[in-house]
Symmetry: C2
Subunit: 175 residues, 2 copies
DNA sequence: CAATTTATGTCAACATAGCTGACATATAAC
DNA sequence: GTTATATGTCAGCTATGTTGACATAAATTG
């Protein structure tokens, strides 16, 4: 007789991960709800901020959704003036994506409560950030690890003060 | 000038949590997709297994969704023979929920890849399970912590070999 | 006992964010 | 010049959440 549900190894973490993620997401969700956006918009803002000049194809690969799904939220973000598009300098079919000033402000607002929650959790649990980072990275697939490495590289190249030359911080048509 | 997106504290963990959770969820999602279920069904199976005899009201409180949303997936799970309902012994308006044998087999199948992924991540990262558990618990809201404690208590009371007396492992009308 | 509250179920309509398939356009590449 | 690629768009489907209204059975209360 198989069933009976004796706990599998690390069962407790399965449930804790569920609650932790749910609550981790809830703060930005509240902010997003107030301005008529959702999690999908949050993810786009996050990745465009992480790698300014990201192309649509790269973004699709990160999000693992279809271009039709992306198109909906991306259009709303562009219309709202949070994301600006610019033809790729090498290949003019590509659309490079950048955050406008308001987009940068928004992603920062969304990240703030998440950052605070994590910092508080690190303090209360007495865990080292690097330990948690090692574990979470080990949880991701190989594919995701490649993407994470790519994003970190992009961040380093650009430096914390880079400007996407030409698009400027206001991204031209920002009215 | 505010924007510019200098990294907030613990920014890296925000992104790692996104990837870790996405990949953590993907294994069960694949299995669920094959049998016409989704994440919503997974959650119900999980909690009913965690606290056999759970009432509908308790489940709603754990999931934080409306009864109409729950009704849909719960009905499908009952129809599929994975969940059995039994009137509460004290209050016969209540419906106590139990997993049938097939339900127990299914939740076990869904948990297996998640368990394996976590165990592998603990090994590769060299992190202690208790450390990660402390951190994840600290990430949850007070409300969630109360619920987690309640679930753990239920698990201990029942013991790993309990049977929901009367409902049996086959939950009566299981044909 | 009658009236009310509670636990649950159900119907109908709606929103968000995924999906597929088909087709359009501009540009790059052969 | 033809073909391939990057992107956009139209139309419709699905899963899972939402609200509001109403039904039923059982518990509780006056």
């Amino acid at each position: 007789m198989k069933p009976k549900t004796d706990p599998l190894p690390a069962s407790e973490l399965i449930e804790l991960l569920f609650f932790a993620y749910r609550d981790f997401i809830s703060d930005p969700d509240t902010i997003l709800g107030e301005i008529g956006f959702g999690r999908a918009h949050h993810r786009v803002l996050h990745f465009v901020d992480r790698k300014p000049g990201l192309t649509v194809a790269e973004l699709l690969d990160l999000l693992k959704i279809t271009k039709q799904s992306l198109a909906r939220v991306l259009k709303q973000l562009v219309d709202a003036g949070h994301v600006a598009q610019k033809p790729g300098p090498e290949d003019r079919r590509q659309r490079e994506l950048y955050l406008t000033d308001t987009g940068k402000t928004l992603i920062r607002e969304l990240r703030e409560p998440q950052s605070r929650r994590i910092v508080a959790a690190l303090e209360r649990s007495g865990c080292a950030e690097e330990e948690i980072a090692k574990f979470l990275l080990a949880m991701a697939t190989e594919d995701a690890k490649t993407q994470i490495a790519m994003l970190s590289a992009a961040q380093r190249e650009a430096g914390p003060t880079r400007k996407p030359e030409g698009t400027g911080t206001a991204a031209s048509e920002d009215e």
